[in-house]
């Protein structure tokens, strides 16, 4: 049973990671920095609970705010470049964050032992949950409460003017500028929101595994972060969730019985999925209540126009 709860925890934190990239992708920007924000959240929350004895809830929110602040600061210079240049710039930032944690040693004494990040060895003993007697189902529930809150917030945001503006910028920057949208403000706003969500995801992740190290937050994780919303489709937050279940549930766990063949199939199945559903598993048409009420007669026209 614990195995399935563990799996649910992985789905939860990866959904948060994917949603952090989803917000940025709505504006048409591919950010490879999300694993960096996730790492910052993980180390910040770990420090708050393990080193300074903070309660988990404020620690998670604090970690989110720290990541958001850094995402905002990084966003201003990074979002001046577009497309592949942005991918390279954000990739560089992610690696920079990783190398900082690789070299960071900052330990304090608690209960006769040293705790804190210890360079290449990583940050051990982030043991808030076992120390406070949390059962695994309670931890899993907490993670999914955060996932549900973030998904609800993004779903609601998508129905407000902010959501329409993000999609407008993602569709055509020249037109968006011509109607008076401040592109920098919109993109940095999305990056900041993405940083907040990644920080929350990272902080929960750190507490489920109790030991984090720089190597986890590399390019592979950054790739997963953008792969979830792209594979799932940018129509709604549920695309990201479906993609996490597909990749982590089916491709990683479901195919485990295939042994070495799994890695081969993993890539092949993603290619197949993207070919069968080029706009993502759930498509990229904004799924809103207004859209659900739309007359079916308009749907064929929509497909022709695509």
């Amino acid at each position: 049973m614990d195995f399935y709860f563990g799996l649910l925890q992985i789905f939860g934190v990866h959904t948060l990671l994917g949603l952090s990239a989803y917000v940025v992708l709505l504006t048409g920007q591919v950010s490879m920095a999300q694993a960096g924000f996730y790492a910052i959240g993980a180390y910040a929350a770990g420090a708050a609970t393990a080193m300074f004895g903070m309660h988990i809830i404020p620690a998670v929110l604090l970690a989110g705010l720290v990541s958001a602040a850094i995402a905002c600061a990084v966003g201003f210079p990074a979002l001046r470049v577009k497309g592949l240049m942005l991918v390279v710039a954000t990739l560089a930032f992610g690696e920079m964050v990783r190398m900082i944690f690789f070299n960071l040693t900052w330990q304090v004494e608690r209960d006769g032992a040293l705790v804190g990040p210890n360079g290449a060895e990583g940050f051990r003993a982030i043991r808030y949950f076992p120390e406070n007697g949390w059962e695994i189902w309670q931890v899993t529930t907490l993670i999914w409460i955060f996932v549900a809150l973030v998904m609800a917030a993004l779903w609601w945001m998508d129905r407000t003017r902010a959501g329409a503006v993000l999609r407008a910028v993602g569709h055509d920057e020249v037109a968006a500028q011509s109607i008076g949208l401040n592109l920098t403000a919109v993109k940095v706003g999305a990056m900041t929101a993405g940083g907040f969500i990644a920080g929350i995801g990272g902080s929960l992740y750190a507490h489920t595994v109790t030991h984090i190290e720089h190597g986890i937050f590399g390019v592979l994780l950054a790739t997963f972060a953008v792969a979830y919303p792209i594979l799932g489709g940018l129509g709604s937050v549920f695309g990201t969730l479906i993609a996490v279940l597909f990749i982590q549930g089916f491709l990683v766990e479901g195919l485990r019985f295939m042994g070495d063949w799994r890695s081969l199939l993993f890539g092949a199945l993603i290619v197949v999925a993207m070919n069968l559903r080029p706009k993502g598993l759930l498509g990229d048409t904004p799924l809103r209540l207004g859209g659900l009420r739309r007359k079916p007669s308009s749907t064929p026209a929509l497909q022709e126009a695509d």
């Binding site: 129905r159 003017r161 109607i179 008076g180 904004p286 859209g291 009420r293 739309r294 308009s298 929509l302």
Partner: protein, 255 residues
């Protein structure tokens, strides 16, 4: 009202716009014409801020727009449409207008109510604009599913959504028939009736000559004539720019 002072834009050695000065008066429909490549679209892009001028200034009611960003110019009351229509095809018709509410008055709304309130695409001001553009029945249809004519109307409505003082129309009749041109002329007059000054860039001469109050003619980036439609039609420089000069044709015949 809108004044261009010695405006130039050079791309390397190409003088796309060369020392153009113009004054557009409040409430008029001003035509900007010229052969292909004469710098009309570049002039529009200089006014809206898509390009920074090499030299010269863009003034609106005495305020210098030259160094302002595009979104600041929108707040000052400048709006435009594009020669090749640029709608947000992934949004509905109403949402296309909703995201464009970035005018001076609209910016005053509280941050939270401006950005994070759902359902604003059904506001009275948006319905009024859809009614004006005969798009009310298409309100919740994705903009990519509209017909060509509807897209043109939606783009003009989107430009009007920020309550601009001056509207720049970049070849609104491109791809339209003569009949559509007459409907377009009515629409442009209706826009003028809303108190909006119009700068019309156009190739369709019937349209330009029929509705503009004054016209400026560009050729090779420079202004060669300015005046009422009747004056422009009599102007020899304009005739030679469009038809080639008689003199040159004779030279060619002898060659």
């Amino acid at each position: 009202m809108l004044t261009l002072e010695n405006l130039s834009k050079h791309f390397g050695g190409v003088r796309a716009v060369d020392d153009v000065s113009l004054t557009i008066r409040e409430g008029e429909i001003f035509g900007l014409i010229g052969p292909n490549g004469s710098g009309k679209s570049t002039t529009v892009n200089l006014i809206t801020g898509l390009y920074a001028p090499t030299t010269g200034r863009v003034m609106l009611d005495g305020y210098d727009l030259t160094t302002m960003a595009q979104h600041e110019r929108t707040a000052m009351g400048v709006a435009r449409t594009f020669q090749n229509i640029r709608l947000f095809g992934n949004l509905t018709v109403a949402e296309n207008l909703w995201v464009a509410q970035n005018g001076h008055e609209q910016r005053r709304a509280h941050f939270l109510s401006r950005w994070f309130r759902a359902g604003g695409e059904r506001g009275a001001d948006i319905d009024e604009l859809l009614e004006f553009s005969r798009l009310l029945s298409k309100r919740d249809v994705p903009a990519s599913a509209l017909s060509f004519g509807e897209m043109r109307r939606l783009e003009m409505a989107r430009a009007l959504a920020s309550n601009p003082r001056v509207l720049l129309l970049d070849e609104p009749a491109a791809g339209a028939s003569l009949e559509d041109g007459q409907l377009l002329a009515e629409r442009i007059r209706a826009v003028q009736g809303r108190g909006v000054t119009v700068l019309l860039i156009e190739h369709m001469m019937e349209l330009v000559m029929g509705i503009t109050d004054r016209i400026a003619v560009l050729n090779f980036g420079g202004k060669i004539a300015e005046g009422t439609p009747a004056e422009i039609q009599r102007n020899d420089d304009v005739r030679s720019a469009y038809l080639g000069s008689k003199h040159k044709n004779e030279e060619l015949a002898h060659a």
